[in-house]
Symmetry: C2
Subunit: 218 residues, 2 copies
DNA sequence: ACCTGAACACCGTTCAAGT
DNA sequence: ACCTGAACACCGTTCAAGT
């Protein structure tokens, strides 16, 4: 399990929560590779070893960071909307929520996160799917598909504004021998453009929802 | 760019290729965290600094490792099959190819891989999609959806045989308050089971292909 | 030319000591 | 009780020296 030694403001005036929040903030500013216990401690103005009073290891701290990022985020849904619209809203919101803390998706790739706060996304998805008429098994499989898509997208797509990554991809494709890569070179700019952004996300999501609709009416 | 100092067998009898292959093997045996330049060098029976004769940095070595893993893998397709069957085969093969080197998916999450060998998957996908009648833009978007799904699945699903991860998830769900998580607790075992495995992969893939079919005939 | 030990600036974490 | 410096066993990489 994770945090929770005690929420007592100790001699340093720090709580476990505050340490996790500071780590999340550090992650957003400097990225995952930059975070070290020593640097975080220095930023908090305490000795490196002080952090081990709040978390038994760096791993445990990182788990708490995921929790901190995810807690308080409540899906805003209107149950009167059609299930397809509800899922679209939920997945778009999830994408943007994760996109605000890019390091987190990679953190979740190593460790499946099973904290209650992180499971609200599953609950909200299943509520919509079961409400739409999917039985438990198919609702669960459908949720997993949506989860995989959203987390896969934020993990493997270049960041929102990263025009450079797209340009690099286009350049790499243009350098390919046409003979061995006839289709990729023919659709080079389109393939590079499809690597990320709202259009790509929405297109994929729409196809998945088309597929769910087909399964539901079959 | 990556490797390629020279393929000359030097004093140690090592080539850049061999170093990359050894690193891939090390990764498969010990995981991403365990790989260090010092340890790999020790395993190869050379000084740590010798590796820097082949690759300028650990990053560059890792890029070559991705290349080594991916090179030589040719999609085995029968162009006479319907496009849907061809895509199913290609994506299943890709999933298993990546699954053989679990560290690689996480490596690709940090750096988009644009080496020619890695782009064969894109070429094969686009060949099928364009052959099916998708225009370049929609074919590119559809490829990206499939790519995201396959890489997302191998990244965020527990490994094939990891019965323990499923049990842990089931346990975590059972501990949830029914009042706040009515749907998740109701479909707990199904949700845990859907985290990975062939059934989950094939279900998701089938829904995506349903969606592509809908888009194509619309 | 090719290889490598020593050294530098870092890590996470243990342990014993400080207040 | 709470905090922390020193120390240990590691990193990736530079640099100067070895053959």
């Amino acid at each position: 399990m994770g945090a929770a030694v005690e929420a007592q403001p100790s001699r340093t005036g720090l709580t476990a929560e505050q340490v996790a929040r500071a780590a999340l903030d550090f992650l957003d500013r400097n990225g995952l590779e930059a975070l070290s216990m020593r640097r975080l401690a220095a930023e908090l103005g305490v000795g490196a070893m002080t952090l081990y009073g709040y978390y038994r290891s760096k791993d445990e701290l990182l788990e708490a960071v995921v929790d901190a990022a995810v807690s308080g985020v409540r899906p805003a849904l209107d149950a009167k909307d059609p299930w397809r619209d509800q899922l679209t809203t939920l997945m778009r919101d999830a994408r943007h929520a994760i996109g605000r803390h890019p390091a987190l998706a990679r953190l979740r790739a190593t460790r499946p996160v099973l904290r209650p706060e992180a499971l609200r996304f599953a609950e909200a998805s299943l509520a919509i799917l079961r409400g739409a008429g999917f039985d438990d098994r198919v609702a669960a499989l459908s949720f997993r598909l949506l989860f995989t898509y959203v987390f896969g997208f934020v993990t493997f797509s270049p960041a929102e504004h990263d025009r450079e990554a797209v340009a690099e991809a286009e350049h790499a494709i243009r350098a390919l021998p046409t003979r061995d890569y006839p289709n990729l070179t023919a659709a080079g700019p389109e393939t590079a453009a499809a690597m990320g952004g709202d259009e790509a996300f929405d297109y994929g999501l729409a196809r998945i929802l088309d597929g769910l609709e087909t399964a539901l009416t079959a």
